[in-house]
Symmetry: C2
């Protein structure tokens, strides 16, 4: 439990992300996640008292992560930060967020607090973008392009090549007066 080592709780959440990535939302079972994390089922239930609680924990962790990213982006320039965050760095991480979003509507097995955490992320980015850009239409375009990037990357739909992405970024930054 020293500072640099990852807690068991975090290992379990990472395992959940991996299972989500490999098998999708309906492939998640407590036993699988426990095994993937190298814990027993009892051990998992010690940290998360139900499956719902487990998903809540993941949503909460995403929220904290994105809160930090958004704050940083407000300093460094939102357009670039948001668009870069939307192309996916870690497929496992994206798959988790994706599943959570999917569960947003029609609560499948997600609690109200998890729903709020996920919405917080989207609203947080939207606010940051609108705060920094004067023109609301440009701001919306930036937001939508980012969401589109996220959707494409995570769903297997066609993704623009890296050099096209760069040119999109340049064009939007120019329109936004950033950079």
């Amino acid at each position: 439990m020293s500072q640099e080592e990852v807690t068991t709780r975090d290992r379990i959440l990472n395992a959940l992300q991996r299972v989500l990535f490999e098998e999708g939302g309906s492939g998640v079972t407590l036993e699988k996640v426990a095994a993937e994390a190298g814990v027993s089922k009892g051990g998992l239930l010690y940290h998360f008292k139900s499956k719902t609680d487990l998903f809540d924990g993941l949503a909460r962790r995403y929220r904290h992560l994105e809160e930090r990213r958004i704050a940083e982006a407000r300093r460094s320039g939102v357009v670039e930060a948001f668009l870069r965050a939307s192309e996916i760095e870690s497929p496992e991480s994206a798959a988790g967020l994706w599943t959570l979003m999917t569960a947003l509507r029609g609560r499948e097995e997600m609690s109200e607090t998890a729903r709020e955490d996920v919405l917080f992320i989207f609203n947080g980015w939207a606010e940051a973008i609108h705060d920094q850009l004067d023109d609301p239409v440009t701001a919306e375009i930036v937001r939508l392009v980012g969401d589109g990037l996220f959707l494409s990357a995570v769903s297997g739909a066609p993704v623009p090549g890296p050099e096209v992405t760069e040119r999109i970024l340049d064009r939007l930054k120019e329109a936004a007066g950033e950079g």
Copy 2:
């Protein structure tokens, strides 16, 4: 079985969309869909021999629908048609496509043919857009904005108001030289 009446098969698929909309992907059970369609479980299984087959049927129907829309859009102007199609007319319909997309990665319970049908839709729109716009960067922006619109509408993330949407549309049509 005359022309104007909807087949039982279609009624079952509509029921699936409704259940998907109300309860999400993991809320789908054969019994629920059957009840919603006003058929027995046995009756459902007569038309679709497994749950996978049921989802396949839905994907196939989407594909046919979008094929027609894309062909029409090539005549009437892709930018407007695509963006209008991406803001959602029917939430039930969108929820179904959304679930299918979610299942694209990590096959949960979707067959290869369903995956192909869904990818066909996305690639079909992408091709139509790129065919009609000279500048590939603009084309990609249009595509991404549309995907972002879809994502927002269906996930509960913030949606631009109608007048902002119109202005986005105008700006993109201008950039594309359409209309």
